[in-house]
Amino acid sequence: MDLNTKYTPQSWPDHPESSTLEGKNKFLGFWLFLGGETVLFASLFATYLALKNRGPEGMQFSTQELFELPLVFIMTMLLLTSSLTSVYAMYHMKNYNFKAMQAWLLVTVLLGAAFLGFEIYEFNHYVHLGFTYGQSSFSSAFFTLVGTHGLHVLIGLGWITLLMIRNSKRGLNLYNAPKFYVASLYWHFIDVVWVFIFTVVYLMGVIG
């Protein structure tokens, strides 16, 4: 395939992400990776649930005293909205509207960065209270689970930003369309994991 092939909205295929063999392979490989990610997060969730509120005798930290729901609610809304904006980006990708796609990806990245900012604030706050990584088995399990998700957000932000910069002058073609599509799948998966984190860790933590 000639990477410089220029398309028009009329000649752009209906499924640009799977129009080439390379695109199909990326799609298949990425879903296999997401299956593996599911198992990774399951093991971290399982560890957290087994070690929740466990620690040295007389530990003063518990989920009920630590977690602040308003902060978690704002973070949830930010990540959920960023999921919708990346759907908008893929909508414009399918319509061969490169500028609109880049604009929506930028909004997605900004919302993701705001989410990450709140998470850093939250972790920093816990550490100042004395709830550090090594304080108890509960704190280790908590920081590993939520921190691994935060790391995924960071990787997603870097990934989408690099794609945007690298292709900024190139425009859309069948070489980079699958790359954008797969990055947006990753971003949605991050939101899938967060739905379970806010439910299982924070909401169920606050009720006890």
């Binding site: 395939m1 752009w12 990610e37 399982a46 609610f73 949605h188 739905v195």
Partner: protein
């Protein structure tokens, strides 16, 4: 490397049809988003309302499951054709996830 793809340009009518279909799909996505926001609000409200644990926990877990299904099938397009392998991979992962979590909350204690 990727193989050559022949994509004959769409006629005016085909193009208009494709645009309209994709605009319709986008409207559906916005509806999905509204439902997801609504489910999140219910979950947070249920916790704030202070009902008994045995009542709230199953409800918020169910709401999370619905929200994840919406995310997977609409935002991640699993409802579209050609996602058989994707479903196999994801559900295999989910099966192992379920067994792992069940094991850790039942037979692990410290």
């Amino acid at each position: 490397m990727a193989h050559d793809v022949q994509t004959p340009a769409k006629s005016h009518i085909e193009y208009e049809y494709a645009r309209r279909r994709s605009a319709n799909e986008m409207r559906g996505q916005v509806t999905t988003f509204a439902i997801m926001i609504f489910l999140t609000l219910i979950a947070f409200t249920a916790v704030y309302a202070g009902f008994s644990i045995n009542f709230v926990v199953p409800i918020i877990l169910l709401l999370a499951a619905i929200q994840v299904v919406l995310q997977l099938y609409y935002f991640m397009h699993m409802s579209h054709k050609g996602h058989e392998a994707a479903s196999l991979f994801l559900y295999s992962g989910a099966l192992i996830a379920g067994i792992t979590i069940l094991t850790f909350i039942t037979i692990v204690w410290i």
